[in-house]
């Protein structure tokens, strides 16, 4: 019965989404303001119903209800509870339901909490939101029903892809989805403001928390995904320019640009049309990301079973949404009045440069990701664009971008002079030059890009803290701290990236138990090889003891796992983290002479890459909390003032 109840809830939610769209569209089109009041409760009910539907699917997975086809295909009764839970969205249907659930709940939140926006704009926003949801509801109900029953009921399920049986990955997709959906909300706001000609600071302030929230989730999702690929694939790399990685990077780049331009719009009422355009682009990128991953057009770790019907459905949705959004923008951009002006050397100027450079990187990644697909579709010729392209093309632009990031916050709004700016950034420049000099002098193996990256990072780290210089730290607003921490996080990540690419040491040997391996200052002793067993896998485990210089002896145990349900092997790397880097050990195959392949890496400061990502997300969170609190206080103040009057 649970499955049927879930399906009914889903149908009802879809019906309410239709009603929500109709109420908004008719209401705004024909000026029926009596419809406006109804749209909020409808949006809340829609969010609640779709959430119930998703919860019921979770219950089905937790109970391992093998009469439901989706559970059979993606779960097994012996699986640990956490992965039964995560298995709910570790598949096509479940992840689409998760998408539309988050979307519905976001709509409910807007309906409940957004009070500062003009009613008409809010209603249009909710209608746009419902319109986007409708496509996904149709997709679920027509071609990917998650609640489908299966007869006869099989004794057990087929299990989840073993690579995905990992706590990090259990929460990686939902994190990205929150980000994608947040951008769709920002897009709905943009549509609302375009249709009602209400593009201005109030719109920007209403949209900003959603952009910030989406951006935080995307940052976390990308950081987690990168770390997951790093330790789970056993290749020792942290970014592969895989199309699926790019699919999450592109929305992040657009969201980063949008985040900065929406600040200009909210604070200075500038960059109106541009901000709306970016909202459209950011949403398009998250749709393209979903399309690339979900349609099976890319065959990689992430792609789902190739299903042409589903692929075409998503492609059609993509065309309707992006085409519609672009058309709407083209039609309505004329009604967006020009915003406030500013000089080139100003905070706004730096933010424009930030936006242009981010767009340039976005373009480079976009071309590199889609070019092979387009060429293949047109000429049937297979080709691939690899890391050399992405690094060569986006690296230099990214370095200029981070240099401007250091300068921007030190500029005044509206107008500033280049001379005083030079004065303010003299210390970071000296530090960068000094770092560059030292690095050239002391190191031999660094590439130009890493060299510049590392030197710049040193300067940026200092410059990013400069906005706090000589300020009353207690009265500095929370969002300023947020910016400082996020920018500092970029510098931290940059050091990690440059260090990883320049100073990594690797050794690959075939060793017998008892052999010793040295790597940099590490001494590794291969003690023994033993079979071990987990809940649904067996493994060969290499027992090793490792010692850094004369420090403590620690045991590590890289494994090769065999999964019973999927007849797949995965390699479980052993990682040992020190403050100054990570030791990474992978176990390979054994040979006839009793030797085992052991691959080891010493990666100095590699962890800074992900710590940087976490700092960036933390900065975003502080900014979000600061903005929301200020919004709340302002509303309280207004209410109080009205009370007194």
């Amino acid at each position: 019965m649970i499955a049927e109840a879930g399906l009914i809830a889903l149908w009802l939610a879809a019906g309410l989404a239709l009603l929500q769209f109709a109420l908004g569209a008719v209401g705004v089109r024909f000026g029926r303001e009596d419809y406006y009041a109804a749209i909020r409760p409808v949006a809340v009910a829609q969010g609640a119903l779709v959430a119930i539907s998703f919860l019921l699917l979770i219950v089905l997975f937790l109970r391992s209800d093998m009469s439901v086809a989706l559970v059979v295909k993606n779960s097994a009764s012996v699986k640990p509870l956490l992965y039964k839970f995560a298995g709910t969205w570790g598949n096509h249907e479940g992840s689409m339901l998760l998408w539309v659930t988050v979307m519905g709940m976001a709509g409910a939140c807007i309906a409940l909490f957004e009070r500062s926006l003009k009613v008409k704009t809010l209603v249009t926003t909710l209608a746009a939101q419902a319109f986007i949801s409708l496509g996904f509801y149709a997709f679920l109900l027509v071609s990917s029903n998650p609640f489908e029953r299966m007869f006869p009921v099989p004794p057990d399920g087929q299990g989840l892809n073993p690579l995905l049986q990992d706590p990090g990955l259990a929460f990686h997709p939902p994190t990205l989805y929150f980000g994608y959906v947040g951008l769709s909300v920002a897009f709905s706001f943009a549509v609302g403001a375009m249709i009602t000609s209400d593009v201005g600071p109030a719109f920007a302030r209403a949209m900003r928390p959603w952009v910030l929230g989406a951006w935080i989730f995307l940052t976390l999702g990308i950081t987690a995904g990168s770390y997951w690929a790093y330790y789970e694939l056993g290749w020792g790399g942290w970014w592969f320019w895989d199309p699926v990685e790019n699919a999450s990077l592109m929305p992040w780049l657009a969201a980063t640009a949008l985040l900065h331009s929406v600040t200009v719009l909210a604070t200075r009422d500038g960059l109106r049309a541009w901000t709306v355009m970016l909202a459209v682009v950011a949403f398009s990128m998250s749709m393209i990301g979903t399309f690339l991953v979900r349609s099976g057009i890319l065959t990689s770790v992430h792609a789902f079973a190739v299903d042409p019907e589903r692929g075409s459905f998503i492609l059609a949705l993509l065309a309707i949404y992006i085409g519609g959004a672009m058309a709407l923008f083209a039609l309505r951009v004329g009604t967006v009045k020009e915003g406030t002006r500013f000089e080139l050397v100003s905070r706004e100027g730096a933010l424009v440069a930030n936006n242009l450079l981010l767009s340039a990187i976005l373009g480079i990644v976009f071309v590199g990701t889609l070019y092979p697909l387009v060429v293949e579709a047109l000429t049937n010729e297979k080709l691939s664009v690899g890391p050399p392209y992405f690094n060569l093309a986006s690296g230099p632009v990214a370095l200029i971008l981070v240099a401007i990031m250091a300068v921007g916050p030190l500029l005044r709004w509206r107008r500033d002079s280049a001379k005083t700016l030079l004065n303010r950034i003299s210390i970071p420049i000296v530090i960068t030059a000094g770092a560059l000099f030292l690095l050239v002098l002391l190191t031999t193996s660094m590439s130009v890009l890493s060299l510049l990256g590392m030197a710049l990072a040193a300067g940026i780290a200092v410059a990013s803290l400069a906005p706090l210089w000589k300020r009353n730290l207690r009265r500095t607003p929370l969002h300023t701290y947020g910016m400082v921490i996020a920018h500092f996080g970029i510098a931290v990540a940059l050091v990690g990236m440059a260090s990883e690419s320049s100073f990594t040491e690797e050794r690959l040997v075939a060793a017998k138990p008892g052999d010793e391996i040295t790597l940099n200052k590490w001494k590794l002793k291969f003690e023994a090889i033993e079979p071990v067993a987990g809940p649904n896998w067996t493994a060969l485990e290499a027992r090793m003891t490792v010692q850094y210089e004369n420090g403590n002896i620690t045991e590590i145990a890289p494994q090769n796992r065999m999964f019973a349900s999927a007849q797949t092997q995965t390699s479980e790397a052993a990682l040992l983290t020190r403050w100054n880097g990570q030791l990474y050990v992978v176990l390979g195959d054994g040979d006839a002479e009793g030797r085992w392949q052991i691959r080891t890496w010493w990666k100095p400061f590699v962890t800074l890459i992900w710590y940087g990502g976490i700092l960036v997300a933390l900065g975003g969170t502080l900014a979000l909390v600061g903005r929301l609190r200020r919004k709340y206080l302002q509303r309280k103040q207004k209410e109080y003032a009205e009370l007194v009057l």
Partner: protein
């Protein structure tokens, strides 16, 4: 600065940035567009030794030879018409066997051997190299369609 001038300057700057990025992308792509080679492509196009390329094809039956050091493997990749000797030092993917499809990133040496830095095997259920899809030479490359996120 006058309003008109400001808009113009911004537009020109934007244009310069976009054109710059476009040029950069084209320049990098030109170098990369033929990143993927089959053994016959290598015979035909003769990529420069030392240039990073990706090689794809089938591992020839009976060609895998393990070196005495236990970590280096020699094999031949073919595509039905041409053959390409490959050296790889590292841990081979679980499903790397004779007759399977592989994609290798690496470079050609001056003596014409391909030095692979990384290997992906077609039969690896978790990762099918996109380029090998549809290249069918031995008949045992069935499409794996059980991928799940």
């Amino acid at each position: 600065m006058k309003a008109k001038h400001q808009r113009l300057t911004l537009a020109i700057l934007a244009l310069v940035a976009l054109v710059g990025a476009g040029l950069l992308a084209t320049f990098a792509l030109q170098d990369q567009a033929n990143y993927f080679y089959t053994p016959s492509d290598i015979v035909e196009k003769k990529p420069v030794a030392g240039k990073a390329i990706r090689l794809g094809g089938m591992v020839e039956e009976g060609s895998i030879r393990h070196e005495a050091d236990g970590v280096t493997v020699n094999f031949i990749v073919h595509d039905g018409t041409a053959q390409q000797p490959v050296i790889y030092t590292g841990i081979t993917p679980d499903l790397f066997v004779e007759g399977s499809g592989v994609v290798a990133d690496g470079k050609l040496t001056t003596d014409g051997t391909f030095m692979a830095e990384s290997l992906l095997a077609k039969h690896d259920e978790n990762y099918i190299p996109r380029e090998l899809e549809g290249i069918d030479m031995t008949g045992n490359m069935t499409k794996t369609d059980t991928l799940v996120e």
